[in-house]
Symmetry: C2
């Protein structure tokens, strides 16, 4: 064991980069900051395609856009990979509340949670029961739940510095609460949005009904509306009406969009970078994850523009259906397995187009040691955090096959103000922050496609 540790330490201490790598990285950075096309690409995606939920017409337009953008970036080869995706539609939706002592219902801002059922256009009216948490809900009697609309009033924990930790904590109210309430015979669910926002934007997002429950409608309200509803529930009885056309239409044919630069020495071994092309059906999917798509395309463009021929094949993948099915990520991994492709590293960018701070890494210790060695090369770009251990949703099926994975870590203080809302638009992305993310990704892909990964 001691010998193994020693060998590991020795391996980790072997410098696996050259003096001139820092110069090449600077050259790549200069080019991206001065001539990068990712910000312009994002403008086109957001403004000419717009939001693009899997199965929608816009998603098809986004596929065509992605193909064109990868070709314009100079990829040696660009292709589409077929994938069947769920096709959910929102249609019209309405949440109306009547507080104690009021005669009429008042419409409030609302977004149904993705993948949920609607009311077939009928009005579902029921008393509202407020609960603070899943733990409190578990203490309730079934008869107090039956036929009611349960309002899960759980707040995103603003005290957590890492907002993704807060998302993991509050996100279960989107994933679990509708199933828990349905299992107890509730008529519907309202959740306080999974949101750090100081505004009243409702946040949509994914859920999946358990096979054991009869699906009930589930909707999200913004923080201001949730505050008002909380107060009203404390003061007296509240009745809600939910009316919506949400439904799952079945599956639709769609595509992952893939472009690559062929490796000079190991053309069959792949370094992959990717984001997802689909978005929710509100806003413009700018941070989530238009940013990741245009950054991945930028990696190809910048390497090509610098005349760098990587030893390993560099591949950019724009995944379809990350938001409500992950079918693109699964299809990609299945295809890689079937074709006996070897991925030596896959990195995802799906945490917003904000200033980058680091890379999360999920891989063997000696591989982590190698990449962490690059830290000093990345510090001039504000990249210092190599501690986190995870990859990303779309590359999780690859990871299960044993591929070393990672993720770009941007500063995420603003992310959950915007995530899955009408406010996630092009204007919310800063050109320099977006480009700095592309610089970070390009430079890491440059190093790994030159030296491989132990």
């Amino acid at each position: 064991m001691k010998a193994k540790l020693l060998a590991l330490a020795l391996l980790a201490s072997t410098q696996l980069y050259a003096q001139n790598d820092s110069l090449t990285m600077r050259k790549l950075s200069d080019d991206i900051l001065l001539n990068g096309t990712c910000y312009d690409n994002l403008r086109v995606l957001c403004k000419q395609v717009g939001h693009r939920l899997s199965g929608s017409l816009q998603a098809a337009k986004a596929v065509a856009w992605g193909q064109q953008a990868l070709e314009a970036a100079g990829a040696d080869k660009v292709w589409l990979q077929a994938v069947d995706v769920p096709h959910w539609v929102r249609g019209k939706e309405r949440l109306s509340l009547r507080f104690e002592g009021e005669k009429t219902f008042k419409d409030v801002k609302v977004l149904s949670i993705g993948n949920t059922v609607g009311t077939d256009g009928k009005v579902l009216e029921a008393p509202v029961v407020i609960v603070k948490s899943i733990e409190d809900f578990r203490l309730m009697n079934k008869e107090d739940v039956k036929g009611k609309i349960i309002f899960f009033n759980y707040r995103f924990r603003q005290d957590l510095v890492n907002t993704f930790e807060g998302y993991g904590d509050a996100g279960k109210y989107r994933w679990l609460a509708p199933n828990m309430a349905a299992a107890q015979g509730a008529a519907g669910v309202i959740i306080r949005s999974v949101s750090t926002g100081t505004d009243d934007e409702p946040h949509t997002g994914s859920m999946r009904y358990a096979d054991t429950v009869k699906p009930i409608p589930a909707v999200a309200i913004g923080n201001h509306t949730a505050d008002a509803l909380e107060q009203a529930c404390i003061k007296g009885n509240v009745t809600a009406q939910i009316q919506s056309d949400c439904k799952m239409l079945g599956t639709a044919r769609s595509y992952n969009v893939i472009g690559e630069i062929k490796g000079s020495t190991y053309p069959d071994k792949i370094v992959m970078v990717g984001g997802h092309l689909d978005s929710w059906d509100v806003g413009e999917g700018a941070h989530d994850d238009g940013a990741g798509c245009v950054q991945s395309i930028e990696v190809i463009r910048a390497l090509k523009a610098a005349g760098i021929r990587p030893k390993y094949t560099v591949r950019a993948v724009l995944f379809m259906n990350e938001e409500n099915g992950l079918k693109g990520g699964m299809a990609y991994a299945d295809s890689a397995k079937a074709a006996r492709e070897t991925h030596i590293f896959a990195i995802e960018t799906d945490a917003g187009g904000f200033s980058p701070r680091g890379f999360s890494l999920e891989m063997k210790p000696e591989q982590r040691a190698q990449i962490t060695q690059y830290k000093k090369l990345f510090l001039p770009y504000g990249i210092y955090d190599f501690e986190q251990v995870h990859g990303g949703a779309d590359i999780s099926p690859l990871m299960k096959q044993g591929v070393p994975v990672g993720g770009l870590i941007p500063d995420a203080q603003r992310y959950f103000d915007l995530h899955h809302t009408h406010a996630d638009v092009f204007e919310a992305v800063n050109h320099r922050e977006l480009k700095m993310g592309a610089v970070a990704l390009t430079n890491l892909v440059y190093l790994v496609s030159k030296y491989g990964l132990r």
Copy 2:
């Protein structure tokens, strides 16, 4: 020498913090993120006071606001420190351009550079001569400059990762170019704004005429207008009209606003944190430097709310007139000297209310070593950069007296899109980013006011 280095190394290695400090820092962070008032304070300052150039009525309102806010924060003592400031007014201003082949002049977006003279309401009309840089200007013959309006078309260097470096580089076109042009007999100056923006916002900011030149009007245009003017100058002759009421009205009485918590052990020794209360006369001075003011006030509030009685006196200073005179910073240092006050540390927050990344430090090596030792305590808050060597403008007079100084370093990718423009408004500040800056400052002030500085 070796002995001295050894002693220094030994000193630096002595741990000057306790295990429970990390718990106290977490408690302070939790409180600021959950209950902090800095974001609400900023809303009031921006929306009820608005922009507040030195000498203006709004600056006087801001003084009253600052006093009230420091009292509400629970400072033991709040007072005003008189300072005479320059009172410059913009009045109406207009820049009109007539390109070759056009019959009429067209108004473009413009902001006069602060402290400049106007045209007394008259129309100054002259041919435009474009120069790329100060170096190119130096090569020109005096007769080619005389009577002309010189357009300094220097671009902010987007390739520099540290935007403050870019600001230092391009900023000289605001400071130096008008004087250089005036010295050669130019009639006026147009500069491409000191701006990273993708928009057409002109950026104002300070300049000072050299005693040796006859003042001429100097104005700034946004990047789009500058691009158009550049093209027009390449294609043919361009004539410009400048008409403005800008003038210096003399001096006005104003105030620094100061609040403090008295130290328990060393009441006469001071740890100071501050930002500046004045702003340019456009936008709302949100990032510059409303953010720094409300963060400084938050330091007082958070320490008080946590029941922490610092050993050293903690003082928050809202400086007047950073933007166009620095009279507040000079008056504060003069007063400190006259009263024989000892400042053991002064830190400034005047680089925008963005996610913090570090502290710049300008002090003795052993003092720097002590604060750098705190790095591990700060890493959970995204604070990793302790390398930069500078303080801030308002505390530079203190530094000249030998006071160890520092500055909060936020992520500044967005700053020079907004800096000194109409767009620097409350909505451009994110609540969590602003608060994270306050957390960083509060925790550093907590440590230094507990342990002192070697």
